[in-house]
Structures are given as C-alpha cells and as structure tokens.
Symmetry: C2
Subunit: 329 residues, 2 copies
C-alpha cells in the first residue's frame, strides 16, 4: 500500500440514477482514502454500472497492492470489474471477478478491450454461439464498436464472408479499409434495411451478431438462412427509448429454425484460456487490428462517457479507454 502512506483516492461518482443519455453534470469527481487495488486502465463503455453516490464501475486493469484473498497476491496484475477511482478496496471478491494477467508482452490497455471483456465477448459470439463453417455469411451490427470490430475479424479468420454496418461514413471506411470486412454499409443511409441486407446477402445470413435491436433486428430476421445463429449481446438502439420499438418478424425464428442466444461475456469466463491461445499469436503477428482511443486521466472520464452517447467519438470510433496520466503500474 505504497509504504502505508495515506493516498488521496480520486473517484468518479454518479449523482443519481440517469434516465437516457448521461450528462457531465450527472457525475462528479471526489476522493476517499481506502485502498487495496491500484487501478490503471479503464474501459469506457455505454454499459458502465452505477449506483448514485458511489464510484462508477467498469472493466479495467489494476495491480494488487494488498490482498487477504488466497487467489490474489500483492503485485498481481488483474483485469475485471473495477471502479473509476485510483485505488479500490474490494471486499468479498467473487471468484470470477478478476482474471489474472499473465501475458505482459502486449500493451496492458489491451486488457480493457481486445484481451478483456470485448475480446471475450467477440470470441464467445463467433465461436460459442455462431460456430462458423468456412464460407458462412456473417453480418455484424455496431461493427466498429468494441466488440463488433473483433467479431468481424474473428469471423474472417474463420473463413467467413463478413459484412458490417455502422452509423457514419468514417466508420464504414474503417470497416472496409482497416478492419478487413468484405463489405460495410451505413444503416442511416438505407431507407429499406430488409432490401439492403438482401443486396449484401442474396442467399441469406448464417450468423448475425446482434448489438443493436429494433428495426435492424427485424430486417435481419427476414434475411436469415435456415438454421442461422444469432448471438445477441446488446440492443443498443433500445437503451434510451421509453418504449422499445416493436418487432414483427419473430415468426422467422420458427420458419428458419433459428438459434438465438442472448449472452454476456460473464457467461464465458471459462473460455478465456482458449481465447488467449487463439488470439495472442495473431496479436503478436500484428494480424488483429484494434482501434481504440485513449483518454488520459480519470478527471476526463465524465466527458468521455457522455461522448460515447452523443456520437462525440473522438474522431473515428466508439472505443475509448481511460488511462492514468502516469505510466503503467
């Protein structure tokens, strides 16, 4: 605990429950002095966990500075659900809360994304739910997002034809020119999503990565092939609607004998070793691209979080990590 000195602990606190898009004034920055983990990188995502008056929770990287838990010892690097504060005292650590970091030849910030929750989610979506065969046709929504960009690349590595959709020309360019998608389109420029999907998938979709919901999901259902698989880990278009958009094409589930699996990465802690075995060689060979912005300093967290919801996406995409102004722990 840094030589037992008392350390000011900067925290980002949510003032009260937020309905819809958060504003900066919904959060404030404060301090306390209880410590045990020193937090390093933090992922900024739309699904951070909040209790008003407490620091925001999110996925991040931390170094254990003190531990009475048999699984963790001082000096361990871990990733998992941490708080937006410099130091955290974590009590009653559930066994799956933190995953130890053994591979430090890759940037630690990867454990907030590519090697963290987003990567685990994408790997589960593709290989546990999608189960692609070579030549399968894969459609990725929110394709430039933290998970989507990896789903597309993993599906390409599995020999699939991959089309992504995103909400701006910049993002579409990123998908086609940097992330290796076969095709990409801007859903905002399509009046008829069913027809757009028919254009890209004349024979239908084998695997759909669902992160959007609403009208897009309805259009996808009509374009699925028989025995298609839908990996559903987000419906971001529905998060800040008072009433969700109604869907009409559920009958397709039966007609096409579809398999739909709702999941979060938390259902797949057990696949992390397999995932790392799969992905680390590609990372070391530079065969995986992961596009993220790094924002320095917890005090910039509120603005960065709000930016995710308002499309102020730091120029090009949706993935942002908070890093301390200091070097890695």
């Amino acid at each position: 605990m840094a030589g037992d000195q008392v350390v000011r602990n900067t925290q980002v606190i949510l003032r009260d429950y937020v309905c819809g898009v958060p504003r900066e004034s919904d959060m404030y920055v404060t301090s306390d002095n209880t410590i045990s983990l020193k937090n390093s990188q933090q992922k900024i995502a739309k699904y951070v966990y909040c209790t008003p008056g407490s620091p925001i929770w999110g996925y991040g990287v931390a170094k254990v500075v003190d531990s009475s838990h048999p699984e963790y010892k001082k000096g361990d690097l871990v990733w998992g659900l941490t708080r937006w504060e410099e130091y955290s005292l974590i009590t009653n650590v559930p066994e799956t809360s933190f995953i130890k970091i053994h591979h430090t030849d890759v940037p630690l910030s990867h454990y907030t994304g590519l090697l963290g929750m987003a990567g685990k989610t994408a790997y589960a979506a593709v290989f546990e739910v999608g189960r692609p065969k070579k030549g399968d046709k894969v459609f990725v929504s929110a394709a430039s997002g933290a998970v989507g960009q990896l789903v597309g690349q993993f599906a390409k590595l599995a020999g699939c034809y991959v089309v992504g959709t995103a909400g701006s020309k910049q993002k579409v360019d990123l998908l086609k020119n940097k992330l290796g998608f076969d095709e990409a389109f801007n859903y905002k420029e399509e009046n008829d999503l069913e027809a757009a999907l028919k254009r890209y998938f004349p024979e239908g979709i084998d695997i759909y990565f669902e992160h959007v919901g609403g009208k897009l999901l309805d259009a996808v259902l009509v374009n699925m092939k028989e025995h298609g698989r839908i990996a559903a880990c987000g419906m971001i278009s529905q998060y800040d609607l008072a009433e969700p958009e109604p869907l009409k094409n559920l009958f397709q589930i039966m007609l096409k004998r579809l398999h739909i699996q709702g999941f979060t990465h938390r259902d797949y802690d057990h696949i992390v070793p397999n995932y790392y075995e799969f992905v680390l060689p590609y990372i070391r060979q530079g065969k995986i691209v992961y596009v993220e912005d790094i924002v320095e300093g917890l005090e910039n967290g509120p603005a960065a979080l709000v930016g995710l919801f308002t499309g102020r996406n730091f120029g090009k995409q949706e993935v942002v990590a908070l890093a301390p102004p200091q070097k890695q722990p």
Copy 2:
C-alpha cells in the same frame, strides 16, 4: 399391389392456395389409379402441406405394397409425410421421409401423434432444447394441442413444475384433471398476460414451449428467468394474420441471457430411437395420456381440417386423426 388389380384411389385435393382459414369448398375428393403405399391413419393438423390440384400432404401411417427402394420392402409399416389418398406412389423417397414402425403392440394411430411427429417434436422441445433440471418451472402454450399435451407430461416426468395455457374451460380442465399439469389457465380470460404469468411463476420461467407467438410470447419474455430456454416450434396465433402482432420485449433475450431455438421435428429424426426408448415403457405402463379424436374415412377429412381452424374441435381438444373405415392395414 393387391394382386395387380386396379384400385380406385380416393384423394383429397386442394382447389387453389388458401389464404387464412380453409373452407370445405376449397377442397374436393377425387381418384386416380397409381399405387405403391397403402395409407392408413392420417394426422389432421393446421400445418398440412398443400399444392392446389394435388392431394393434401400430412403425417400418416402406411403399409408398403410395392417398393424398389432398398430401405423399404413390401409389407413394411412406416410413418411419415404421406398424402390424403388411399394409395400413394412415392418417387424419390428422401432417406428421412419415412420412419419404419417396429413396435406394433401399441395402436398404429399412435404413429400419427404420440409416436409420430407430435411426440418427436415434444421430446425434442423438452430434452434437446429445454434440457430440464428437476424442479425447473415450465410453461406450455397450446397446452392441450398435439404437441403441448406431451410437452407437459414429459416435463412432469423430468421432475418439473408445469403450467399450461389453452383457450377454453374444457381444455383447462383437461390439462389439470387428465394430463397431470400442476396448473392451467385460460389465456382468453386474462386481461394482463404478464400479470397472469407472474402469478403462476413468481420466480420466473425456466423453459417455455412456444407454439403461439404474439402477445403471449411478449408476456413470457418478461417472465423468463436468467438463462431460460424457449423451444419455438409454432406461432399459431400469427398464422392467419395479414400483419403479425408486434413484440416489444425482445430486449429480455439479452437481459436474461435467453436461449431461443426455432425448430421443427424434421431437425430431430436422429433422436427417434432415443425417444422410443424413453416413451414406449411409459405407454405400455399407461403412464402417458394422449387425447385425440379419430375421424373415420378420407371423405370426412375436409370437414375435420376446417374444424381445427374454427374451434369445432370435436368436443374437447385439438388433436384429430383420420382413420379408414376399414381395420388397420
């Protein structure tokens, strides 16, 4: 082929494609004289297959009277997709078209239902998709139907708590008093389906057998437990709507990490031996109840089929089989 004599072959023919509920005048009875299978029992179901001008297709029992196919020989009893005619010439038999009948110590009419498509579907729904643990809470829609009544009984045999819904007091009584459901209710008497399900499943539903769709599915989604399973093999409320009912609660798929599997029995031909091993002892011990009406004579097929759609359900339930006026083949 009955000593090479020419046999008049009575057929039930659909005049033209039917939109919505069929009328008797949409069908007519005729004859031709090509033979190879002698058809016996026929299941009458809402999902018979029709090409105008040809006999209606449906699941039935037949005896092979002539065969050049290596898998089938004269005298074999089979069940599978046959036609509403006395004799059928089946060309290009797909390998999975017919399942041979080896157990004849049970009524042959069982192979149009309990040991046929309905039984296979129910077994797949419960054990392949639902995968019940003892004590799981199971909800069955269309619970007095051909498949639903078996889903409920199989789930009870697996140690589950089972609630069914149906559309009349008579059917609800049947579920509770004859088919062994723990509870049953008439969905037509419930103004608030979400609240009704909450009443029967205060802790939520583990497994839902989906045969109805629409509002009921929407209410079920809200009442599912985390990691719940939905076996979807029908959405009968939606069959004759010009526009399907919109659903609002799809977000629950993600939130609850639901598994939804659309399927038909055709995806599960390979489980038939397991199914028979499971169910035949129960049938022989009288531990499975299967409620069906038998209508005699192909010439009564059109009226019986129409009755299914108009609720003229032969007094008590929805399961009807056509049998010839003669004895079994």
